[in-house]
Symmetry: C2
Subunit: 262 residues, 2 copies
């Protein structure tokens, strides 16, 4: 939201366009240079960071909402995006006054105060989605509400607003559980990638190490990746071969599940 008018409209008429009592929070996992990070934003006037999120428009399906919110924050579309849980238990989700104050701080910046019964201050459950992106592709633009953003290592997430730490934990658990069952990587790697790259990706997400030889054997046996003739010439030393995903087997593994690593 870039103009004061937009914010005012959202605050005063948002309940006509969006469903109240429900929000979507996105845990956006970005991978780069052997590190798994998540995208955090900070609202004006807040000390703590929080997850990017938004509301469900009345004329959108839930899935469309999640993709729109993600695209608004990252400028990326067609991403791997997965619903993983609804959060409605914690104290902040029971609408304690703390939540009301937190929201008020955000909008005070543009000179808007939320009344006691304002739709943004009512009890709101949040549907958690997680996405996988290559974080070099993400363009985040601060606006009237969002003061700053940062990429934070998943092993080193600070205390977040609301119950967002809980959401991050659950997202990470789900991502890891999923990775053991299904292939992930299509959205996190270039079309052609090297074995060390995908190997490091898996180690970063799962937070553990895999034997290089066994790892390659596994992916090749499952037919998930194909070795190409080309090699990549990067830096010194021996150049690694390039690989690509086999779309057919990749899709099949997504649908049927396949044990990828133990």
């Amino acid at each position: 939201m870039n103009t004061r008018q937009e914010v005012l409209d959202f605050v005063h008429n948002g309940h006509q366009h969006y469903l109240p009592h429900l929000s979507i929070d996105c845990v956006i996992f970005g991978y780069h240079a052997h590190q798994l990070k998540i995208l955090l934003i900070r609202h004006h006037g807040h000390e703590k960071w929080s997850l990017p999120g938004g509301y469900i428009a009345r004329n959108e399906t839930l899935t469309q909402s999640a993709h729109r919110i993600l695209a608004e924050k990252t400028q990326l579309s067609n991403l791997f995006l997965q619903q993983f849980y609804v959060f409605g238990d914690s104290a902040t989700r029971m609408n304690r006054i703390e939540t009301h104050d937190t929201h008020n701080t955000t909008y005070a910046k543009v000179g808007v105060a939320l009344g006691e019964n304002h739709w943004l201050s009512e009890r709101t459950l949040s549907i958690g989605y997680y996405a996988l992106v290559d974080y070099l592709n993400v363009v985040v633009t601060p606006d009237l509400l969002v003061d700053a953003y940062c990429w934070q290592e998943v092993t080193d997430v600070p205390a977040l607003d609301f119950d967002h730490n809980e959401i991050v934990q659950k997202a990470l658990m789900t991502l890891r559980a999923q990775l053991y069952q299904q292939p992930i990587g299509y959205n996190l790697l270039a079309e052609k990638f090297t074995l060390p790259e995908i190997h490091a990706l898996y180690e970063a997400i799962l937070g553990r190490q895999f034997d290089r030889r066994n790892f390659r054997k596994k992916l090749l046996t499952l037919g998930l990746i194909r070795q190409l003739e080309e090699r990549r010439k990067i830096g010194p030393h021996r150049s690694p071969y390039l690989y690509e995903f086999d779309p057919e087997n990749y899709q099949k593994a997504l649908e049927e599940g396949a044990v990828l690593a133990q």
Copy 2:
């Protein structure tokens, strides 16, 4: 809801006690006599069956709501109850007129008509929960809204109201995936059970067969169950031994996951 007054209060004032735009639908799996069934209800004036469900009270946590709704329908508490997905994509969840009519039919019976903008007629996303029960313990009492109930084999579910067939499918998929990772049975079997009983339970849920000897070996190796001295004297022929779950190992397997069967 047993009195007309209760129904009227719910229809007219429900939005003050419950969160609008959100509901909970429960897929209640019941097991008995080698069959996995689900509990369906039928509202007055409806042809199709549907899943039991309810709304989230403003002063309850989401988890409390789910347990309350389940208890209202089955008279059972402390059950294994698991959130598995939010449904917000299908045509009926986009609030087509069909949904409005369907609801109206329900309340017409008690002489109530819902206006166009009634809270019960607005677009409502549904949070799916599934539960596991021994269906002999379930006491379902029809009331002013619920005309009838039945237990239906999961392999033979008729066309249901709204998007409830989709919800059942997703619940079953989740239950099966979960069963491969975690022990299930505590809520579905008596405290002491025989090996053939738990064996048949797994076969019914997963829809496939297991070798008796390997199955027993697996559960014993994992320490999930303990063999007792006693035997059960049932019917003719040799009496089977009784087993019980080892609470400590069972709990550990729930938390950490354990591969149970392949």
